[in-house]
């Protein structure tokens, strides 16, 4: 149970909002639950509902609306590559295709054979000047990996970054 393991984190989250506005804590609590469980299962959603007094169907609605919440299991980490316009103008589509091939993946949202990485494509992440770029979402949060403005990250380098994350 989240309430047993993360009592102080939950108290800190609830404290950010007025006492009668517990619903505001739904989003940060969903992040907490997702870190704890890997994804937002029905049980996780029920727990967040119980802490905030919000109906589980409404919590599930929030999970469905926001793209960084996931209600199903995937690889240990989600690798989210930006293929939006500014990055695509700097070659992100071809780069992403090569990246997928290097991981032996045929299409988006597949998971590598070792279960480590699910590769997704996302809209602009606010790193357009450092294209190509991707972020890794895992139990520790969301972390950026970007090119330098004057030197694009190679697919080799990106694969190397993923290798370095394994076992961590």
């Amino acid at each position: 149970m989240l309430t047993d393991k993360y009592a102080s984190e939950i108290a800190e989250i609830l404290n950010r909002y007025p006492a009668e506005r517990r619903r505001s804590a739904v989003m940060p609590l969903l992040y907490l639950a997702q870190s704890a469980y890997g994804h937002l299962s029905k049980e996780a959603i029920d727990e967040v509902g119980a802490i905030t007094g919000v109906a589980p169907t409404d919590v599930a609605g929030v999970v469905g609306f926001y793209s960084l919440y996931h209600d199903h299991a995937a690889g240990k980490r989600r690798v989210q590559i930006c293929t939006d316009l500014p990055c695509a103008l700097r070659g992100a589509d071809a780069w992403a295709a090569e990246f997928l091939a290097r991981l032996n993946l045929k299409k988006w949202d597949e998971t590598t054979a070792d279960g480590e990485f699910t590769v997704e494509h996302v809209m602009c992440i606010g790193a357009c000047d450092k294209a190509p770029c991707f972020q890794v979402q895992d139990s520790t949060g969301i972390h950026f990996h970007e090119s330098q403005p004057d030197r694009a990250m190679t697919v080799d380098e990106a694969v190397g970054i993923l290798e370095g994350l394994k076992g961590k």
Binding site: R16, Y17, P18, R21, R23, S24, A25, V26, M27, P28, L30, Y31, T52, V54, G61, V62, F65, Y66, S67, L68, Y69, T83, D84, L85, P86, A88, L89, R90, D93, A94, A96, A97, H121, V122, M123, C124, I125, G126, A127, C128, D129, K130, A131, Q135, G141, I142, H143, F144, P149, D150
Partner: protein, 434 residues
């Protein structure tokens, strides 16, 4: 503007200004102290009004005026900072929050004093996870040093500062959707009125300002409106952060006075077009831009709110996407439409269904199996979405489509069997992103 003297990007002049002690050594929190201990909230509002500061989140609304709209005698009030920054091509707030966090925090805190609010929420897009982690450490330091909390500078003023992370929804940048999101709901826009100044967060009077907007405020309070007006134009004073992306030689942010010409921005500060190519078109406000054909008159346009509006476009948050001569506008529009379809919150039909239809037509055009009638159909669907949406996102989705069809119709027709010029049949691969 002297490039060595930034007003917003002071981290580019002063090393380690993200350390509190360095920030304090360079006049940090003197403006906040001056406001709280020597000025009334009204005096702070008047100074910002006189400075002519306009909102940097897109609409350019006068900031001091916005603060003065708060419903009288209604408390508590809230200040909410919009750090959602999700318009494709925008990455300026991230640089402020990462490298010059205390100036941002000080600006937000002065905004709270002027608004007589005791609580600030900074809504930051979820992707900026590590940025928020850094900001939370900064906030903790401010509590320790007595800049946040109770009885600030021995007065009765108290102030709390919290962060609320978004979770991957562009629509939450729209201020009423953002407030819904802080309330723990789906990020869907509210009907207006009531406006946030009257019924905002938790139905209380609320100021919503962009990150960059409030980062201007310490300078204005410290140095006065006249000093602030030394940069920029009469109606668009101050400096602005321009985000350069796409086919530019030097992508990145640059701080320049409002009113700088497009030519100077691109060729002096951006290093020109990549690989010395020709400059075909520009999008000044991200994916929702009116796509503009580049010619000498456009290059000489001063980039301030009025001059860009006079060209039929918007300066927005100055997210400048550069398109060189190799670009096919029908592909650009495929990308923008894909974005808006993904980000439509689904609340109203013209936007939800319309973006779906526009995307399917554009995919057909880009795959090369379309007829000229499909291009006309695209025009038709886009026109039908226009003016029928609950919030600006629906309108945004249409803006680049109609502008490109008008200025670059040939790029679309070239893909069709009956519209392509005989000599140059074109076939573009559909983006890997689908």
């Amino acid at each position: 503007m002297d490039q060595g003297k930034h007003i917003l990007f002071r981290h580019r002049d002063i090393a380690n200004i993200r350390d509190l002690d360095v920030y304090l050594a360079h006049g940090g929190f003197e403006a906040f102290k001056k406001a709280v201990t020597t000025m009334t909230p009204q005096q702070v509002i008047d100074e910002v009004k006189n400075a002519g500061l306009r909102g940097r989140g897109g609409a350019g609304f006068p900031t001091g005026l916005k603060w003065s709209f708060l419903t009288k005698d209604s408390f508590p009030r809230y200040v909410v900072i919009n750090s959602d920054e999700s318009e494709p091509g925008t990455f300026k707030d991230r640089e402020i929050l990462t490298h010059n966090p205390f100036q941002f925090l000080e600006g937000a805190m002065i905004t709270a004093y002027a608004s007589q609010a005791n609580t600030i929420y900074n809504y930051v897009r979820g992707e900026y996870w590590d940025v928020v982690a850094g900001l939370e450490q900064c906030v903790a330091q401010l509590y320790e040093r007595g800049f946040l909390g109770e009885k600030l500078f021995g007065t009765e003023f108290k102030l709390d500062f919290y962060h609320h992370r978004g979770a991957g929804a562009y629509i939450c940048g729209e201020e009423s959707a953002l407030l819904e999101s802080i309330e723990g709901k789906l990020g869907q826009p509210r009907l207006k009125p009531p406006f946030p100044a009257d019924k905002g967060l938790y139905a209380k009077p609320t100021v919503v300002n962009n990150t960059e907007t409030v980062t201007n405020v310490p300078f204005i309070i410290q140095n006065g409106a006249a000093a602030y007006r030394q940069n920029g134009t009469e109606k668009s004073p101050g400096t602005k952060l321009f985000c350069l992306s796409g086919h530019i030689q030097k992508p990145g942010n640059v701080e320049l006075p409002l009113g700088v010409t497009l030519r100077e921005l691109i060729y002096t500060h951006g290093g020109g077009i990549r690989e010395g190519k020709g400059f075909k078109a520009v999008m000044l406000s991200g994916a929702s831009s009116v796509v503009l054909k580049v010619d000498d008159a456009l290059l000489d346009t001063p980039l301030d709110y009025e001059s860009v509006a006079a060209k039929g476009a918007m300066l927005g948050s100055a997210s400048v996407i550069v398109l060189d001569e190799t670009v096919d506008l029908s592909w650009v529009i495929l990308k923008t439409t894909r974005f808006f379809k993904h980000e439509s919150c689904g609340k109203c039909t013209p936007c939800r269904e319309g973006t779906y239809w526009m995307l399917s037509i554009l995919e057909r055009i880009n795959k090369g199996g379309a007829a000229k009638a499909d291009v006309e159909l695209l025009q038709n669907v886009a026109s039908q979405i226009q003016n029928k949406c609950l919030c600006p996102l629906g309108e945004f989705s249409v803006t680049p489509v109609l502008a490109s069809l008008k200025a670059f119709r040939g790029d679309f027709d070239a893909h069709t069997a009956d519209g392509a010029p005989k000599t140059a049949p074109k076939k573009a691969a559909v983006a890997a992103g689908d």
